[in-house]
Amino acid sequence: MIHSNHRFTVSLAIVALAATPMMLAQNAPVSATSAQGPATNVNYTSNINVNGQGIANSCYTPTAAQLANPACGVDASGNPVQGEWVALAGSITTVYHNEIDPDGDHWHTKTTSHSELTGMGSCSGAKYVEKDDYNNDYKFKANDAGAIVKTDFLTLDKMKLVSQGPLPNMTVVFQTHTIVDEKGNVTIIKTFPNAQGQTITKCTK
């Protein structure tokens, strides 16, 4: 379950069906179109454009002069934040493939996500860069007919925003929700931390 008062979700749904390869690049959730099982050992790729999202840098205290700027101290929706809002931009590219165990009773979806993001503080103007790869292997059950049993996985992960100036680096917690339905549809939802709560940031030199 995703608990968020002001959550941003970047979602993509990919129909991982050999018969429908044209649907793989869609960035919006799509409904299932076939009851066929997913193709195995075929790499699928999709891009998530991160734009208009961000995180609250609670390690930074804006000055009174900076707070005079209406864009300082609030998130992209105008909600107050602790510290300053750091707007993120960039892309997350996910490549995944499906495998089935030799005995045919379990599937694996193996994902590699490559993210390249930049951030900019709304008060300080501080710039950050992030670049990393994230690898996961999700195992789930096949029914007696060899089809997938719907399973979903939620993982918390961290990304490091490296400061390009004198401010500290930030470690940001985000959530990845991966859903595999009975028809092989794979939905990936990235939830960044928000202004109202959740684990936000940790600052390191």
Binding site: D137, F140, V149, K150, K158, K202
Partner: protein
């Protein structure tokens, strides 16, 4: 199998452990696959009392009780990280404990909802500098499945020097598994730093 993984196996670090159950009534160690409690105390009760007891117990049977928390600990012994820092950094030998807590519920559709929390409490020694490092972090994972839960994830945490120095990011590859018998698997299969 990577060198790190091989070293870990050699040192006996690859462990799947029977969980420790920590419930509302205390803590007990499981020795087998079942956690049924066998009570030898003999009671004489009337049919009416049995019926009353069944009615009283019904909410518990339908999931309103506090989920049992299953825990397990895996010792990390001399696992050496592979340094992939773009500038600086060094291999670090890690020692300490990885703690896992798991709860689950099963809904009316038969879907198991596993909630797994992993926390690390490690110390390290830089293989080049001799510097001391610490790692203390935690992460949460959830699996919703009609089967047991199984996934391999990357657990990122700060590898912080005790003395002033650059902080590295430790990436531990964890194989996590859980089932409705209270078994928890935690296996550290790789350690790298960035």
């Amino acid at each position: 199998m990577s060198l790190v993984e091989a070293k870990f196996l050699e040192l006996g670090g690859n462990e799947y452990k029977r969980a420790t159950v920590q419930g509302p009534v205390g803590k007990l160690e499981l020795q087998g696959g079942s956690h049924m409690i066998h009570c030898s105390r003999r009671l004489t009760v009337s049919g009416g009392i049995v019926l009353l007891a069944l009615v009283a117990a019904a909410p518990l049977a339908f999931g309103q009780s506090t989920p049992v928390t299953y825990t397990t600990d895996v010792q990390v012994s001399n696992q050496v990280t592979t340094n992939q820092c773009s500038s600086g950094g060094e291999p670090v030998s890690l020692n300490g404990n990885m703690h896992t807590e798991m709860t689950f519920t099963t809904d009316s559709s038969g879907v198991n909802h596993f909630s797994i929390a992993v926390s690390s409490n490690l110390s390290g020694v830089g293989q080049n500098s001799g510097l001391s490092y610490t790692v203390q972090d935690s992460n949460n994972y959830n699996i919703n499945s009609s089967d047991a839960g199984d996934m391999t994830v990357e657990f990122r945490s700060d590898l912080t020097p005790v003395a002033p120095g650059p902080v590295m990011m430790l990436i531990q590859t964890l194989h996590l598994s859980a089932d409705t018998s209270g078994n928890i698997g935690l296996e550290v299969t790789n350690n790298t730093t960035q």
